[in-house]
Amino acid sequence: MLETRSLTKSFGAVHVTRAVSLKLERGERRVILGPNGAGKTTLFNLLVGELTPDSGSVHLAGEDVTALTVPRRARRGLSRSYQKNTLFDGLTVEENLALAAAVNTGHATRLWSDSLSRPEIRETLAEVAHQVNLMPYLHARVSEISYGVRRQLEVGVALATRPLVLLMDEPTSGVGPEMSKGFHELLNNLPRDLTLLIIEHDMDLAFDVADTITVLNYGEVVFDGLPDAARGSKLLKDIYLGSWEDA
């Protein structure tokens, strides 16, 4: 569903991504682990097109999308959430979701209809709100909801475009442990055929939700395989768990 072939990017002399090759099957849920500065977010930026790679390619559903702009890739089914919330503060939760849902149906550029009142958009909206537990907050403005709920909305906005592949950049960053648990349930609510690539710091959550695990270090893939194998891997312990436990 999503594939990269020796994706490479450097800023000046610093290689932030070195020959990263990944392959995600349809419905696969993969967690990316790695210490700070391992190039996880840079990889996301390369995948969605916010950065252009120096070499290598990105393939989505069998199509080479390396030359496509961010919106074009998004329209082919690649969506992402951000580590820092990127919500539309003055709008309500419902309006935030509608803004995203309207893009793929073409209502986002239409002059003669209000996207929020279209039945197909309301349907998407209700479904997404249910999936990410936002039903009670639909009419609240972003400024009125708690940080944890905003994190849910951040994922909800990305989901409302009805993607094939969803990239989540630290969805639980900054929320407490009980919220992290709630997030596990949220993931279980998502359709099984949605392909997920998740950057996650919470190790327990990561091993819980992942079908497969990729570990990045200094921009390089140092492990790629099943969670059980990762758990026992000495390499992972050295470069990641060590630093994680120290922190």
């Binding site: 969605v48 916010e50 702009t69 961010v70 919106p71 074009r72 998004a74 329209r75 969506s79 992402r80 951000y82 990127t86 539309f88 503060d89 003055g90 709008l91 309006e95 509608a98 803004l99 995203a100 309207a102 893009v103 793929n104 209502h107 986002a108 550029t109 239409r110 002059l111 003669w112 209809s113 209000d114 996207s115 929020l116 906005v157 990305a158 475009t161």
Partner: protein, 334 residues
């Protein structure tokens, strides 16, 4: 996202009543001022749409109005088209020019956007200034007003023309509100807030910006057609960047992104200009000092200040009043 509040409705009602009273009671000079205000209102409405709701601070809107006016003259006085057809053509041309400017400038932000639009505006100004076809520096006359005699309306009369402009302004206001409430308007709000995020959602943001800039050009074009018909003579001065600058001043003094505020600002600006102009030739000094004071006070213009200060209170009182007068009905105002 644009929302009508009771305060905004109230101010709109007051403005409409004041304009109607002025139209029916004023003498020739008063009517001229009224028409000047109404045309400036159209221009600032167009500017607030892009600047207040799309973050596109344009310094070419005066020039766009000029494009409307000169295109109308070209089609009407030079090509001999019926004024209605000429107006339709002129508005379409202005919209197309605005769309292209919007598309080209969509990649620029902040000061670069301001400068890029300024460049396009001045390009138009320099062109008409030196084009013999349009009379160059001397300007051009022989412009017809719309012919509505079939309906028993004579637009050569100042009072009738003022009322006509008022009707056009009302239509343009509704048009602007409709744009802001459409899917396109919602996307524009999203782009202004976080363009990168809208791109990641799959929105081709430059198209949204260009489309709204084009629609804003429709309103600016209408303003241009009316401006040409008003004095029945136009000169390149109409397209100079200071016209755009003044329009921007009016939008800011009135209240950016409130639609209603810039209308108040337009009325205040024109009245102030004429009143101060009578007392002193140094009215620019006074306008300049007021402008500096308003911007430095960090309020969102006069209307923004009123809204921030009394908006909530007035809203509460008004909704109390509606509830008291209609106790059985459920209030639908949110």
């Amino acid at each position: 996202m644009f929302r009508h509040t009771p305060l905004r409705y109230a101010v709109l009602a007051i403005l409409a009543i004041a304009a109607l009273m002025q139209a029916f009671t004023a003498g020739y000079f008063g009517l001229e001022i009224l028409i000047e205000i109404l045309i400036l209102c159209l221009l600032v409405l167009a500017l607030d749409l892009v600047a207040g709701f799309g973050g596109m601070v344009s310094l070419c809107h005066g020039a766009l109005m000029g494009v409307g006016a000169y295109a109308f003259v070209a089609l009407n006085a030079l090509a001999g088209l019926d004024p209605w057809l000429a107006a339709l053509g002129a508005v379409a041309i202005t919209a197309a020019v605005a769309w292209v400017i919007g598309a080209v400038c969509a990649r620029s932000h902040g000061i670069y956007f301001i400068m890029a639009t300024l460049a396009f505006g001045q390009m138009g100004y320099s062109y008409v200034f030196s084009a013999p076809l349009f009379g160059g520096d001397d300007g051009i006359g022989g412009i017809d007003r719309f012919d509505l005699t079939a309906l028993g309306i004579d637009l050569s009369d100042s009072r009738t023309f003022a009322l006509f402009c008022l009707a056009v302004l009302a239509a343009a206001y509704l048009f602007t509100v409709a744009i802001l409430r459409s899917g396109l308007g919602r996307s524009l709000a999203g782009v202004m807030h976080n363009e990168k995020r809208m791109k990641a959602l799959g929105l081709i943001t430059w198209r949204v910006k260009a489309d709204v800039f084009g629609l804003s050009g429709v309103i600016a074009g209408v303003a241009g057609v009316l401006a040409a018909q008003h004095i029945q003579f136009i000169s390149p001065g109409l397209m100079n960047w200071t016209v755009s600058g003044e329009a921007l001043v009016v939008v800011i003094l009135g209240g950016l992104g409130t639609l209603v505020g810039p209308l108040v600002g337009a009325a205040a600006f024109v009245v102030m200009k004429h009143q101060l102009g009578e007392i002193t030739t140094y009215w620019h000094l006074i306008v300049g000092v007021i402008l500096i004071a308003v911007v430095m006070s960090r309020a969102n213009g006069i209307f923004g200040w009123v809204e921030a200060r009394w908006g909530a209170r007035i809203e509460r009182r008004l909704s109390d009043a509606t509830r008291a007068s209609t106790p059985k009905e459920v209030s639908t105002d949110a």
